[in-house]
C-alpha cells in the first residue's frame, strides 16, 4: 500500500502502482489510461490487444493495480509513462461518476458538486482546496506550539449559548435542552487560567437563518487565547505569527495544490498595520457615526492598505464597545476611551478574516458587564468562577478555516471549499 505514482516511477524500473482510472482515451491500436493516486497522475500506455479489450471494461473511477515498465516520455504528465502493463482490478468496475472528474475544471454547477460531494471531491481541484485547509491547520498549530501554546479540546455540548440566544442549535440532552457551542470563547478564556496560552481547532455551530455566500451552519474555527498581554496589540502580534505559520505551511506542505489552483499566497508583514475604527470610517468614506464596517467599507480599506501600506492584511482596532460582546475590554490604547474597545478585526483581501481583542479580566468588571447587558450571572457561574480566582489580562482571536481558504483560492462561496457544507437547506451528504 506504500508505493505512490510521483515517487516510485524511475525510468526502466518494473513497478506496481495502484489507483483510480482517471481517464481513458482509445486511439487506433493504443489506449491511454491515466491513473490517479493521492500524489498525482501517471499515464499507462496499453498496446497489447487483449489488454486493450480488458481495459475497455474499466469505467472511470475503477480501482486498479497496474504492473509495468517505466519509460521516460517528456510529453507525458510527470515526464514518464508506464508501458507493457498488466492490470488487476481491486474492486468491481465503477459506474460512470456524476461529475467528469478528468476535466481540468469541474463542468458541473455548485449544487451538483455538493449533492455528489462523496465523488466530486475526488476532482483534483476540489481535493486541492482541502489540502490548503489541511496545511493551514498544521501551520496554525505549529506556529502556536512553538510559542508555548497548549492545544485544548473544549465541549461542544453546552448548558447555555455562548454569547446570545440567537443562531444557536438546541440538542435534546437526556430530556433537557443543551446547546451546540457557537465558539469555544468562554472555555478558552477559562483555560488561559490553566495554561496561559491555548489554541483549539474544531467545529463551531451557528444556526444561520439566512442563506449567504459567507456563512454555513458548521465550520472549523482556529481559536487562540493568550494571557499576560498588555493590550490587544499583543494579540495581533500572536495572530501575525499564526498567519505566517499558516502561509509557510501551505507553501511547504501543499505546494502542488498551490500550483494547481494558482494560489497567490500573501506576504505576511513583520507587523500587521493597524488603523483605528474612527480613521477606518474616514478612509472608507463612511459616515463618522457608523457603528460597524459594511462590506463595501472592508473592500475600500483593503484596497487602501494595499495601495498605501503595501499590505494585504489590515487590522482595524477600537470598534465601538456597543457593537462588541460583553467580555470585551474597553479601549486603553492608543488612549483610554470607554466608548471604543481594545478589540479588532483583521481584513484580508477585502473581507473580514478574524475578529479578536483583549477581554475583561477582573471579576468586578464581569459582574458589571453582565448586569449592564441585562444577563443573569447564574448562567455564567463556571465562567465567572475563573475570574473570581485570579485571571491575567488576556485576549485572543478566531479564524474561520474555510473562509481563509476561500480567500486563498478566490472562491466566492464558502461552500466551494467546505468538505460537506451544512446550511439551512443542506444536511447531507
Amino acid at each position: 500500500m506504500g508505493r505512490t505514482m510521483t515517487d516510485a516511477l524511475a525510468p526502466g524500473a518494473r513497478v506496481t502502482v495502484q489507483g483510480w482510472v482517471h481517464r481513458r482515451r482509445t486511439l487506433a491500436g493504443v489506449t491511454f489510461v491515466v491513473l490517479r493516486d493521492r500524489t498525482g497522475l501517471a499515464q499507462v500506455v496499453v498496446k497489447d490487444p487483449a489488454t486493450i479489450r480488458e481495459v475497455a471494461g474499466y469505467g472511470e473511477e475503477t480501482v486498479v493495480s497496474v504492473t509495468g515498465t517505466v519509460l521516460a516520455n517528456p510529453v507525458a504528465p510527470g515526464g514518464v509513462e508506464v508501458v507493457d502493463p498488466r492490470f488487476e482490478t481491486l474492486t468491481d468496475p465503477a459506474e460512470t461518476p456524476p461529475v467528469q472528474l478528468w476535466r481540468p475544471t469541474p463542468q458541473a454547477g455548485l449544487p451538483t458538486l455538493l449533492d455528489h460531494a462523496p465523488v466530486a471531491l475526488r476532482h483534483p481541484r476540489l481535493a486541492a482546496s482541502w489540502r490548503l485547509a489541511a496545511a493551514s491547520m498544521h501551520g496554525f498549530r505549529s506556529a502556536l506550539s512553538a510559542a508555548g501554546f497548549t492545544e485544548v479540546q473544549t465541549p461542544k455540548l453546552v448548558e447555555m449559548s455562548t454569547e446570545s440566544g440567537a443562531n444557536v442549535f438546541t440538542v435534546d440532552y437526556f430530556g433537557r435542552p443543551a446547546y451546540l457551542a457557537q465558539s469555544p470563547q468562554l472555555y478558552k478564556q477559562v483555560l488561559v487560567g490553566v495554561f496561559e496560552r491555548v489554541f483549539e481547532v474544531g467545529p463551531v455551530f451557528r444556526a444561520e437563518q439566512h442563506d449567504t455566500l459567507r456563512h454555513v451552519a458548521e465550520y472549523v474555527s482556529l481559536d487562540a487565547e493568550v494571557g499576560f498581554v498588555r493590550d490587544h496589540r499583543d494579540v495581533i502580534a500572536v495572530l501575525r505569527e499564526a498567519l505566517a505559520g499558516m502561509v509557510a505551511a501551505v507553501r511547504e506542505r501543499a505546494a502542488s495544490a498551490v500550483g494547481l489552483l494558482d494560489v497567490r499566497l500573501p506576504v505576511v508583514p513583520e507587523e500587521i498595520p493597524v488603523v483605528h475604527f474612527r480613521d477606518a470610517l474616514r478612509i472608507a468614506g463612511a459616515p463618522p457615526d457608523e457603528p460597524d464596517l459594511a462590506p463595501e467599507h472592508e473592500r475600500a480599506l483593503s484596497a487602501w492598505a494595499l495601495a498605501e501600506l503595501g499590505s494585504e492584511l489590515l487590522a482595524v482596532e477600537g470598534y465601538p464597545m456597543r457593537k462588541r460582546p460583553f467580555y470585551t475590554h474597553p479601549q486603553t490604547v492608543p488612549e483610554p476611551d470607554p466608548q471604543w474597545s481594545n478589540s479588532f478585526d483583521v481584513l484580508f483581501r477585502g473581507l473580514e478574516l478574524t475578529t479578536g481583542g483583549q477581554r475583561l479580566h477582573r471579576y468586578a468588571d464581569y459582574r458589571a458587564a453582565l448586569a449592564a447587558s441585562g444577563q443573569d450571572e447564574a448562567a455564567y457561574a463556571g465562567y465567572l468562577e475563573a475570574f473570581r480566582h485570579g485571571m491575567p489580562p488576556h485576549g485572543g482571536f478566531a479564524i474561520g478555516l474555510e473562509r481563509w481558504v476561500a480567500r486563498l483560492t478566490g472562491a466566492s462561496n464558502i461552500r466551494e471549499v467546505t468538505l460537506f457544507p451544512r446550511d439551512l437547506h443542506r444536511l447531507s451528504p
Copy 2:
C-alpha cells in the same frame, strides 16, 4: 508577556516574572511566595517589612508581576529563588479557591474537582494530565502526516445516526431533526476515495444512558482510515505507527507532566502481537461460544501478553461478524471464514484502547450487508455513492483520547482526565 519562570531565571539577573500566587508561607521576618506560570514554580523571598505587609493581602491565585534578583539556592524549587522583590498586582486579589491548588495532590473528591473545573484544572497534576493529551494529539498527527495522511474535518451535524439509532443525540436543525455524529466513520471512509489516507481529531457524541467509569457523552476521537490495504493487519501496522508517535511525543513534549504524574510510558513493539479471537477466548479461560470479550477477559489477555510476549499491547483479530457493524469485512486472514471478521481490538494494560478493521469496499457487498441488517439503502445514499464509483480495499481505527490518557496515568475514571466531562448528570461547567 514572554518571560517564563523556567527559562528566565539566571542567577544574578534582575528579572520580571508574571504568574499566580500559588502558595504563601509566612515565617518570622520572612514570607515565601511560590509563583506559578505555565512552565512551573518559582520561589520569591520577601524580607522587606512593607512588602511583607503588601503580600499579606494577596490571596492564593492572585495574579502578579514580580521584579527581583535571581539568587542560586540549591534547596529552592528549580535551584533558584527571587530576592528583593517588588510586586505589582495584575488583577484584584483573588478569592480563596474552592480547591487547595498548592497541595501536592488535590484533597477534594472528584465531584468537587469537576464542579469547580475552571479553577481545579489549575492544579499542576490536573493540568499535567491534559498536557499528556495535547502531546498525544501532536504525536498522532505527526506520525500519520509523515506517512502521507491528510487531515480532514467532517461534519458533526448529520442526517442520520452513524451506525444505529441508539445512543444518539437529536438536534433541532431548522425545524427538522438532525443528529450529532457518533463517529466520523462513514465520512472518513468516503474520504479515502479522495485522499487515500486520512485522519481526524475531533469530538464525537454518545448519548450514554448509563453512568460508567469508562464512558462520557462527548470525547475526542483520534480517527484514521487508509486505502489500498491487503487486510486488517496493514491497518494494525498503521496503528502501531500512530501509537509510537504518540508515545514519542508525550516523552518529548510533556516530559515534566510525565515526571510529575510518574507516568510509565509503554514500549510500542516493532509489531503489535496478534491473536485470533478464538484463541483469545481460550487464553482468557472463556467459553468458546462467547461472542465478545468481557472486561475480565481483556485483563487476562493483557496479563498473558505481558508475561508471554513481553508486550503491553495486544491485538485481538477475527471478532465474530455478528458482533461487528455492517461495514465490517469478513475474515480473509489467517484463512477465509465468513463467520469471523477482518476486524480487531487492541488491548492496552487490561482495557480495550482501539477498535478497527478492514471495511467492505465493493458496492454490491454494501447493498447486501444493508439488506441483511434490515437497513434502508436510501438512508445511506451519499455513503453508497462513493462505493458505486470505485473504492479501494481500506480500513481504519479510532482511539479515544481520554481513554488513552487514563491508561497512561492510571486514572480509574475517564472524567479525571477529561477537561470538562459531559454525562447523564453533567452538562456544566
